[in-house]
Subunit: 233 residues, 2 copies
């Protein structure tokens, strides 16, 4: 196709496919390696609004199925609202403890698993299951692609926050219906993530659940399969 | 608690909560802003094994519910296997086209939506719904937390690849059962993502679906709600 053709060149708008320089690459890997799920280390310091805008913009730049952008971000700063969510967490967490075998229950109860009221900001992230209409490119054959897009937005937010020196803790021990009622979220939306966000005393140098003796990480090699699934690889 | 106490200091292993320097922060944002869903720009060049190892390690450093690490990575390089997956995509994509209204169908058919055989590497990412046992910390109350962990791993992989100058395209127009049969994936696992991975001629400077006139991105402001849900915010 020649440039005199009216149709767009397929290479129009292509930018370099070169890797980042070593310092840039290392910064990306540092954000990934030092990101932590923060529960107990939040400081009450306010978050700079420009930093918050950058973090939300990073989330909004996530990939989404058929460019549907199904996510929404509900920013919760009022302590009264956060306290109501913390009460829902407390109920769910007490139920959760009962699910563990007796020998593990006390260890579970001793863990701090949410910083809902100690973090100055909470962000509830939802996925609108009807956004984009009845047929969405890429969502015709596999389930939950809208939820997966929304999780990509959360992971972008989490890594951007780490680079800003802002901690994020994802709280999933919640009764979804009660949280939706408190925040007025319509039924058609799924609550995907409830995040506690704030500056921190510091980030742990390894995952807190490993540090506290709850569980150990497995080696990467045990998760890699060549050419097809191999049990006990 | 004094240092002479035998119990661990809660601050043991805490590293700085300071932000990255500006160059480091910008590199993280650059990976997020320039990451693209690659379909038609793959080059056949082999991927450096050290870079691939770094990308997979980045995926494996994702957060996971209760440190369950439910993900697995099946690396597919054999053309014969990729061709079998491409055949499944072709069937699903023909079905998908029929779902769109007549006026949109031809535009859909003209889009290139997968680089399964042109990318030298495919990675199938699964989530083991039984990994970690019957009760997993954080998975007691909300559904699909294991899938969400696995998506976080995919987004880490995608951003790391971008920093390495390696393109990734997520293909979701597939019959999950047929792909699982080709790769021998057990029933208990969910297929979360099927990725085409390779070096590229370049990365588009904006999402390809927008560039090709399929859909436009919405502004971030329309996705932000203060203190609670507001319809038509």
């Amino acid at each position: 196709m020649s440039r005199s053709d009216d149709r767009p060149e397929p290479t129009d708008g292509l930018t370099s496919g070169a890797p980042f320089d070593v310092a840039g690459r290392d910064a990306v890997y540092r954000a990934i390696a030092t990101r932590r799920d923060v529960r107990g280390e939040f400081l009450p310091d306010p978050i700079d609004e420009a930093a918050l805008a950058r973090i939300l913009d990073a989330a909004h730049r996530a990939p989404s199925v058929g460019l549907s952008q199904p996510w929404d971000f509900i920013l919760i700063r009022r302590l009264e609202t956060r306290q109501r969510i913390a009460d829902i967490f407390a109920d769910a967490n007490a139920q959760a403890a009962e699910r563990f075998p007796a020998g593990k229950r006390d260890q579970y109860r001793a863990l701090k698993l949410a910083g809902i009221t100690s973090a100055p900001l909470n962000i509830c992230i939802t996925s609108d299951r009807e956004r984009g209409g009845p047929v969405i490119l890429g969502a015709t054959h596999m389930a939950d692609t809208d939820l997966f897009s929304t999780v990509c937005a959360i992971q972008n937010l989490w890594l951007a926050a780490r680079a800003e020196g802002i901690g994020v803790g994802w709280v999933s021990i919640l009764h979804e219906d009660r949280v939706k009622a408190v925040l007025g979220i319509p039924q058609r939306l799924r609550l995907v993530g409830y995040l506690c966000v704030g500056h921190v005393k510091g980030f742990f140098d390894s995952p807190e659940l490993e540090k506290r003796g709850w569980k150990r990480r497995s080696p990467l090699a045990s998760h890699i399969h060549e050419e097809g699934w191999r049990e006990e690889d």
